[in-house]
């Protein structure tokens, strides 16, 4: 069930009834390193999802014959744990909540960015199969989570465990802010002895250590931090 050998391309089932969007998705995702199978209605989707093995199912909610919610419910009712990412033009909060409650793992509103979709797919793959994607690149940085080592231009950076955790957490979502609270949780766990501004201290040291590279640590004051590539001007 859904277990893909690390060297194979991850196999996706894309369920989308609009032929143009289905074709565009299939093309984009296969070029981005996925093995794409398709279904254009709810019934076929349910059949394929239960009889074949997929790494992830990409499911549109508005489908002919069997509504996306129904497909979702049926798949989960059969005990399948294949990660499912829901695509929908219905972007209301209620739909999102219902989708997640019925067992969707992620949710993306149409129209969406293909890069965003790819990032979410990789995140799901990592979550469901932690063995495969523990090496991530961002700019000059390469994070090897299994070995807890970060390389800058191929050379290992000297980072403390806390600095490494902070960097790894930020690189999970490049150019996307992570709140201080979340960083605190990841970096200090339930370490109650840490000072409230301890996260700022870690950030300060980390910033100095990556200072010469093409990436930089940015503070959103009062919110958190993000990592981004430097301006290339």
């Amino acid at each position: 069930m859904g277990v893909t050998p690390p060297l194979d391309k991850p196999r996706l089932l894309v369920v989308e009834d609009d032929p143009a969007l289905a074709q565009a998705l299939a093309l984009a995702l296969s070029r981005r390193g996925f093995n794409v199978a398709q279904a254009t209605n709810g019934r076929t989707a349910l059949e394929r999802a239960t009889s074949e093995s997929f790494a992830i199912i990409v499911l549109d909610l508005t489908l002919p014959e069997l509504d996306g919610f129904e497909v979702l419910r049926a798949i989960r009712a059969k005990g399948l744990t294949t990660p499912i990412i829901v695509l929908t033009a219905r972007s209301t909060v209620g739909d999102r909540v219902q989708g997640l409650r019925l067992g969707a793992d992620d949710y993306l509103a149409k129209p969406f960015d293909l890069d965003e979709l790819e990032a979410r797919l990789h995140a799901l793959l990592r979550r469901s199969n932690p063995g495969i994607a523990n090496k991530r690149d961002f700019g000059a940085l390469r994070i090897d989570e299994a070995a807890s080592v970060c390389y800058a231009n191929g050379e290992a950076l000297e980072l403390s465990a806390r600095e490494f955790t902070m960097l790894a957490t930020l690189i999970e979502k490049p150019a996307h802010a992570v709140t201080r609270d979340r960083l605190w949780e990841r970096v200090f766990g339930d370490g109650r002895e840490a000072q409230p501004d301890a996260i700022e201290v870690v950030a300060y040291r980390l910033r100095k250590k990556i200072a010469g590279l093409d990436v930089e640590l940015v503070a959103l004051r009062g919110v958190g931090y993000l990592i981004r590539e430097k301006r290339s001007e």
Partner: protein, 480 residues
């Protein structure tokens, strides 16, 4: 149409039924009283005759040779019986109350004699039974001279009640006849009067039915004072509908224009690219911009529809929103754009305090998402922007500031008109309309002001939302 309570019964039928019910109860009481009075009159009249018979019998009693003697001629009784269809019986008791003569089956009188009677005699009238028949009885104390003094014998005369009953019944029937006719005449009259009184309702109804089904013009049919509030309420509803319809029509017109424009641009750009008029990379960049623009317009129009849908729902009124957490969420959500433009963002909120506002979270989130998106769009690359939250007495101020060019005089006037954005590359101009709709819906106020020049020499715009105490019912300090 169910207007009056749960039951759809007509007012006319209801009024008629109530009035008739009241009338019938009145007539029943009236008839009972009349019957009682008639019965009493009959009794008084015939009791007199009964008393006369008792007297006649009493006069025949003598005390001779130490014995009481009655010399009642049978003719007397026959005379009595001749005037009544019933039977007449009598009984005389001696001084000690023992049976002297007459019919012993008639029970002796055992009551007291009233001190005052309408007749010049010591007589009591009562009802009793004789041979299983109801009888009216008079008991008379008759003085008899026994040589030295008068002593009393009791004379009872009983009469069966056929005559009295027949008379009473006859009176009752004639009363009932009269009452029935009275009732029928009144019922017809009431029905007709109510019908007449209700005529304005049917006039109004006909006027409403004959209207053009699409017309939302006010109703001008003259209405009596009682119907005026209804007519006014109807007119108000229709005026409101008309406004909504007008707004909707204008919106659809503007929206279709706004959606079609980027689509037309897209089409032209695609054709240019196909013919090789522009370099592919340039064409793709242009296409991406057009697609983003169409997406934004579509999203904003859906947001407007959703704001209208949520307005006034209990769901929207009962939710509370933590503004500091919300501001942080929005900053995280917008962080990719902030990172991309290399902007310098700061959230400034009171430390360790959660500021709670009563209002639907989606609405407030949409409000600040729009304000943030405006701020990001107008701030030049590398510029500064931020969100400030300050409790200010009973008011909570939450503002989004940027370091863009601010607003010039010309743009102020068109600020809240849909699709009036001055800059074709900027938004559709729907963003601020949405913000204002939301503020109106949650009872907050939106102020826009150009910022003063700061130390770096840039100004920009500050959009402040004022959550007043009336709506911000809870400003709680929560230890974090």
């Amino acid at each position: 149409m169910r207007v009056l309570g749960q039951s759809p019964i007509s007012i006319r039928r209801r009024l008629t039924l109530w009035i008739l019910a009241a009338l019938v109860s009145f007539l029943v009481i009236d008839t009972t009283v009349i019957y009682q009075n008639t019965l009493q009159s009959i009794n008084v009249a015939y009791d007199r005759t009964l008393l006369a018979s008792a007297r006649a019998i009493g006069d025949t009693i003598r005390y001779e040779d130490g014995k009481l003697k009655s010399s009642l001629p049978y003719a007397t009784l026959e005379v009595f019986e001749a005037v009544t269809p019933g039977r007449i019986v009598y009984r005389v008791n001696d001084f000690d109350g023992n049976f002297l003569t007459g019919y012993p089956e008639l029970p002796p009188h055992d009551g007291v004699f009233p001190k005052r009677t309408p007749y010049a005699a010591l007589a009591a009238f009562y009802e009793s039974t004789f041979e299983n028949e109801a009888v009216r009885v008079v008991a008379l104390l008759q003085p008899v001279y026994v040589g030295t003094e008068y002593r009393m014998v009791t004379v009872q005369v009983a009469e069966t009640m056929e005559l009295r009953r027949a008379l009473a019944q006859q009176a009752l029937i004639s009363t009932l006849d009269r009452q029935a006719i009275f009732l029928m005449v009144l019922a017809t009259l009431i029905w007709w009067l109510i019908e007449r009184g209700m005529r304005p309702v049917s006039v109004l109804r006909r006027a409403l039915l004959e209207r053009d089904p699409d017309s939302l013009a006010p109703i001008t049919t003259p209405a009596p004072r009682e119907l005026k509030p209804i007519v006014e309420a109807l007119n108000e509803v229709m005026a409101r509908l008309q406004r909504v319809l007008d707004d909707q029509q204008r919106f659809v017109r503007d929206a279709s224009h706004q959606l079609r424009t980027p689509l037309a641009v897209l089409k032209a750009q695609v054709q240019n690219a196909q013919r090789g008029h522009v370099a592919p990379q340039v064409a793709f960049d242009e296409l991406a911009i057009s697609v983003d623009r169409a997406t934004r317009v579509a999203n904003q129009m859906l947001a407007i529809a959703k704001v209208a849908q949520l307005d006034g729902t209990p769901e929207a009124d009962n939710e509370t929103t933590d503004l500091v957490r919300l501001a942080r969420d929005i900053a995280v959500e917008c962080s990719p754009l902030i990172a991309e433009k290399h902007l310098d963002f700061a959230l400034d909120a009171p430390d360790g305090q959660s500021l709670v506002f009563r209002g639907h979270e989606w609405l407030i989130r949409e409000l600040f998402r729009n304000l943030m998106s405006n701020a990001i769009r107008h701030t030049p690359r590398g510029g500064a922007l931020g969100i400030d939250i300050t409790p200010h007495g009973n008011v909570l101020l939450m503002s989004v500031w940027d370091s863009g060019s601010g607003l010039d005089r010309e743009r102020w006037s068109k600020l809240f008109q849909p699709f009036s954005s001055g800059d074709p590359n900027a938004g559709s101009g729907l963003g601020l309309v949405i913000c204002q709709d939301i503020c109106a819906s949650i009872g907050a106020r939106l102020n826009l002001a150009n910022r003063d020049l700061d130390e770096t020499g840039t100004s920009g715009l500050r959009a402040t939302v004022e959550f007043s105490q009336k709506s911000a019912s809870t400003l709680e300090d929560v230890a974090m």
